[in-house]
C-alpha cells in the first residue's frame, strides 16, 4: 500500500515458493481478502456485526489486495529458473560499484485489460450492437452450483398424484465450492473451500451407506448443496435463492407443462425456501492449529438444539462460539429472504479465522501438513472423518425413522478427495470418476490441482467435483443380459436414460475396475440424484440487467475483464543518453530530408544532365524534341 502510494512502482513480480531461490519462504500470515469478508452482502447492516467486531475482525490478516485498484501489473512467477535469472540479472547489472544510473536490467510486464470503470459500464458496452463485429469488454462470473437429494424426488407419486414437498421438511447441508486470491489459475484453497467440500461429500456418502428406509414424520428429505462463487458476495447462493423464488428450482415446472411434457419420463416437484427445515453450513474445517471446532447458531430451535446435542455427544471436540453474530457464510443469503430459517454454522474458529492464509496462494496442503502419501491416519484426514461421521450421525438421528446401520464416514475417500483437490490432478480418484472420452483420459494431465475460482464459464473443478459426488452417492446400473458393446455405445446407452426426465442423473464413468496404465477400457453407468444448476448472478439475467440498479447491492454484480495475452520479458536497456541521441538523429534526418527532396526536385534539370530522361518534372521548361 505504501509502495503504491509513492507512485514510483510500475510493476511487481512475486517469486513463487514452490521451487527455486525462494522455495518454502512462506510469510507468517497472508490474506488477500478484507478483514470482514463479503461485508457488503452481509445479513447485518452495521459494520460491527459484519466484522464480528471491528476491534477483532473475522480475518485479521486480511490486507485487502483483492478489492483495491492496482494500476500496475502484479505477476506471480512459479518457475524456479525464471526467478533465478531475474535475480541474477539484477545482481549483476543493477547493483554493485559499477552500477549505472539507469536500470540496465529491465523487465516489461504486459497485462492489457479491456474493461474499465465498473461492471455496469463494461457489461452495457459489451451489449451494444453497432457493427457486425461487436466488442466484448467483460463477462459476468459464472459456473455451476451442485445439489444432491438423499432420497429421489419423483414428481409423480405411485398413485398418480403429483408430489408436493411439505413445508419445513428438508434438512439442508451447505458448503462453498470456490477459492479466491489475486493470481489467476492459482486459486486453490485447502482450508477454504476444500475441507468443506470433502467433508460434505463424505457426510453424504456416509448417510447413503447407512441406507435410510423411512423418515420421521416431519422430515421428507436431506439436501446437500455445494455453492460456487461465494467468495465474491455469494454469487451461487444468490442465484439459488432467486431460482427458488422464481419457481425455477430444480427446474421450471410450468415451462415443462406448457411444452407438452418435455420431461414426460419424470419431473421433480418444485422446491423453495419454505421447504427448508434448517441449514447446517460447513465453513473452514482444518485442524492445523488445534482440533477444537465451534458452532455458530442462528435462530436456534429444538431441531438445532437436537443436532448440537448429538454432535457434542460424539467424539468431536465442538463448542459453542462466544460470538453472537453469524460469520460470513452463504446462509446470509438465505436469511435475507427468509429471516427465520435456523442455521448451524460449523467451523474451526471461534472469534477469528484460525486460517492465517485465507484467500491467498499460501492456503495449501503443505502449510496445513497434508500429504496423500501419509495415508488415512494422518491428523487432518482423521479429523475430517470425525466431523463427517458426527454430522451424518446427527442428521440421521434427527431425520430417519429406520436405517440399516449407523453412519460412519470413510477416511479412505477423504484422503483420496484431498489428494485430487489439494495436491495434484494426477490422482487415482480422478481416474476412477473420469469419463472415458474426457479428463483424465484425454488431454495432458499436469501435476497441479485444478483452480477453484468461479471464472466466467464452467470449470474442471466443478465438473470433477460433480462426478466425485455422483460416484460416492450413486447406485450402479446393473447391465442387462446382453452386452452394451464398446465403451462409446455403452456410454451412449447410459446417457440415453437422461432423456426426458429430471428425477435421476445418469453418468457414465470409468470406475475403479476399468482402467490401467494405458487408459480406460470400459465404464460403468451410475444412477445418481446429483444435479447442477447455473450459478450466475441474477443481476445479469436477460430480463433483469437492463433495469437493474447496480448501486442497490441487491445481487452481486462481479464481472471479469476480457484480456489479450499476458506476457513479460526481461532485457538490457540502453542508457537514456543513447536513446535521446537516437531520437534526435532520427528527427534531424526527417526534417532535413524535406527541403532536400524539394531542392532536388526543383533543380533536377541541372543535377541530372541527360535531357531524354526528363519526364514531367515541375519547373522544366525545355520542350521535348519532336521527331519529324
Amino acid at each position: 500500500e505504501k509502495l503504491k502510494n509513492t507512485g514510483n512502482v510500475n510493476g511487481v513480480i512475486l517469486p513463487g515458493i514452490k521451487e527455486g531461490k525462494w522455495k518454502d519462504k512462506i510469510p507468517r500470515a497472508q490474506s488477500d481478502d478484507i478483514p470482514c469478508p463479503n461485508q457488503d452482502s452481509s445479513l447485518y447492516s452495521d459494520l460491527e456485526s459484519r466484522c464480528g467486531s471491528t476491534q477483532r475482525p473475522w480475518n485479521p490478516d486480511g490486507e485487502n489486495l483483492l478489492w483495491k485498484n492496482w494500476d500496475f501489473p502484479i505477476f506471480l512467477i512459479n518457475d524456479g529458473n525464471t526467478t533465478a535469472k531475474l535475480y541474477d540479472c539484477y545482481a549483476e547489472h543493477n547493483t554493485g560499484p559499477e552500477a549505472t544510473t539507469w536500470p540496465l536490467c529491465s523487465v516489461e510486464l504486459k497485462s492489457p485489460m479491456y474493461a474499465a470503470k465498473d461492471s455496469e459500464t463494461c457489461y452495457r458496452r459489451s451489449n451494444i450492437i453497432v457493427s457486425i463485429e461487436p466488442q466484448d469488454y467483460c463477462e459476468p462470473l459464472s459456473d455451476y452450483n451442485l445439489y444432491y437429494f438423499q432420497t429421489p424426488r419423483n414428481g409423480t407419486q405411485p398413485d398418480g398424484r403429483s408430489f408436493v414437498q411439505k413445508e419445513k421438511s428438508v434438512a439442508v447441508v451447505l458448503a462453498r465450492m470456490d477459492a479466491l486470491n489475486i493470481f489467476d489459475k492459482e486459486e486453490v484453497g485447502f482450508d477454504s473451500p476444500t475441507t468443506g467440500i470433502v467433508t460434505l461429500i463424505a457426510t453424504a456418502q456416509a448417510i447413503k451407506k447407512a441406507l435410510i428406509r423411512s423418515y420421521k414424520p416431519d422430515y421428507e428429505n436431506i439436501m446437500f448443496m455445494l455453492v460456487h462463487g461465494e467468495s465474491l458476495d455469494y454469487i451461487g447462493s444468490n442465484r439459488i435463492v432467486y431460482d427458488m423464488m422464481q419457481e425455477d428450482f430444480p427446474m421450471k415446472l410450468s415451462k415443462d407443462l406448457q411444452s407438452n411434457g418435455i420431461l414426460k419420463n419424470g419431473t421433480q416437484a418444485l422446491f423453495n425456501l419454505t421447504n427448508i427445515k434448517y441449514i447446517v453450513e460447513l465453513g473452514q474445517l482444518a485442524n492445523t492449529q488445534s482440533s477444537e471446532m465451534y458452532y455458530h447458531a442462528h435462530n436456534t430451535n429444538e431441531d438445532i438444539i437436537g443436532i448440537i446435542n448429538r454432535l457434542s455427544a460424539s467424539p468431536l471436540d465442538i463448542k459453542k462460539s462466544t460470538r453472537t453474530v453469524l460469520p460470513p457464510s452463504s446462509s446470509h443469503t438465505f436469511l435475507k429472504k427468509m429471516p427465520d430459517i435456523p442455521i448451524l454454522f460449523i467451523s474451526n474458529f471461534d472469534q477469528q479465522y484460525s486460517n492465517v492464509y485465507f484467500h491467498s496462494i499460501y492456503d495449501n496442503a503443505l502449510v496445513h501438513n497434508y500429504k496423500y502419501s501419509a495415508g488415512e491416519n494422518q491428523r487432518i484426514v482423521q479429523h475430517l472423518t470425525q466431523i463427517a461421521t458426527a454430522l451424518a450421525d446427527a442428521l440421521v438421528f434427527a431425520a430417519a425413522a429406520d436405517t440399516q446401520s449407523t453412519p460412519k464416514a470413510d477416511p479412505g475417500i477423504i484422503n483420496s478427495m484431498l489428494e485430487c483437490f489439494a495436491e495434484t490432478r494426477n490422482c487415482s480418484l480422478y481416474r476412477d470418476v473420469g469419463r472415458p472420452r474426457n479428463f483424465p483420459y484425454v488431454g495432458i494431465v499436469s501435476d497441479e490441482p485444478f483452480a477453484q475460482y468461479i471464472s466466467v464459464h464452467s470449470s474442471f473443478h466443478t465438473t470433477m467435483t460433480k462426478q466425485i459426488f455422483q460416484y460416492f452417492t450413486a447406485d450402479v446400473v446393473e447391465q442387462e443380459e446382453e452386452e452394451c458393446g464398446d465403451v462409446d455405445s455403452c456410454q451412449k446407452q447410459c446417457l440415453m436414460r437422461n432423456k426426458d426426465q429430471m428425477v435421476y442423473r445418469y453418468q457414465f464413468m470409468v470406475g475403479p475396475d476399468c482402467h490401467n496404465q494405458t487408459g480406460a477400457f470400459c465404464g460403468v453407468c451410475y444412477k445418481s440424484t446429483v444435479f447442477e444448476k447455473l450459478a450466475r448472478s441474477p443481476a445479469f439475467e436477460p430480463d433483469v440487467w437492463k433495469t437493474y440498479d447496480f448501486t442497490s447491492n441487491e445481487y452481486p454484480t462481479w464481472t471479469e475483464s476480457y484480456w489479450k495475452s499476458i506476457s513479460g520479458r526481461m532485457f538490457l536497456q540502453p542508457s537514456p543518453a543513447i536513446q535521446h541521441t537516437t531520437l534526435a538523429i532520427g528527427l534531424t534526418l526527417t526534417l532535413l530530408s524535406l527541403p532536400l527532396t524539394y531542392f532536388l526536385q526543383k533543380k533536377s534539370s541541372i543535377i541530372f544532365e541527360d535531357g531524354a530522361s526528363v519526364t514531367g518534372a515541375a519547373g522544366s521548361n525545355t520542350p521535348a524534341p519532336v521527331a519529324l
Binding site: 492489457p112 479491456y114 474493461a115 474499465a116 452495457r124 458496452r125 451494444i128 453497432v130 469488454y137
Partner: protein, 103 residues
C-alpha cells in the same frame, strides 16, 4: 476538368461553380471547400470576364459555409471528448467505437 483548357467556356465555369454551391447544401461541407479552393484562381486572380462576379460570390459563400462546418465539428469533438466519461450511458449509446481499457 482542366479549367485552363480553351474548350471550357466562361458560362460553363459559372454553371459549375453554382452547381457545386447548391450541392454543398446537402450536408456536404467538403464540396464547399473544394468549390472555394478550385475556383479561387478563377474568381480573384484572373482578369475580369463575364460572370466572374457570380463566381466570386459563390466562392466566398462556399468558403464561409465550410468554415462554419469546421468550427461546428471541432466544437462537437472537443465537447464530446471532454464529457464522454461524465455522460456515461448516453455517451456509450452515441459511440460507434468505444476504446478498450479506458473508462
Amino acid at each position: 476538368m482542366d479549367l485552363q483548357s480553351r474548350k471550357v467556356t466562361n458560362e460553363m465555369k459559372v454553371d459549375l461553380c453554382s452547381k457545386y454551391f447548391m450541392i454543398g447544401f446537402a450536408f456536404l461541407p467538403f464540396v464547399w471547400l473544394v468549390n472555394a479552393v478550385w475556383f479561387f484562381k478563377e474568381g480573384f486572380v484572373k482578369e475580369e470576364f463575364e460572370g466572374q462576379q457570380k463566381i466570386k460570390k459563390y466562392v466566398i459563400l462556399s468558403g464561409i459555409g465550410s468554415l462554419i462546418w469546421t468550427i461546428g465539428f471541432i466544437s462537437w469533438i472537443v465537447i464530446f471528448d471532454q464529457n464522454r466519461v461524465a455522460w456515461g450511458a448516453t455517451a456509450d449509446y452515441m459511440s460507434f467505437n468505444i476504446a478498450v481499457g479506458k473508462p
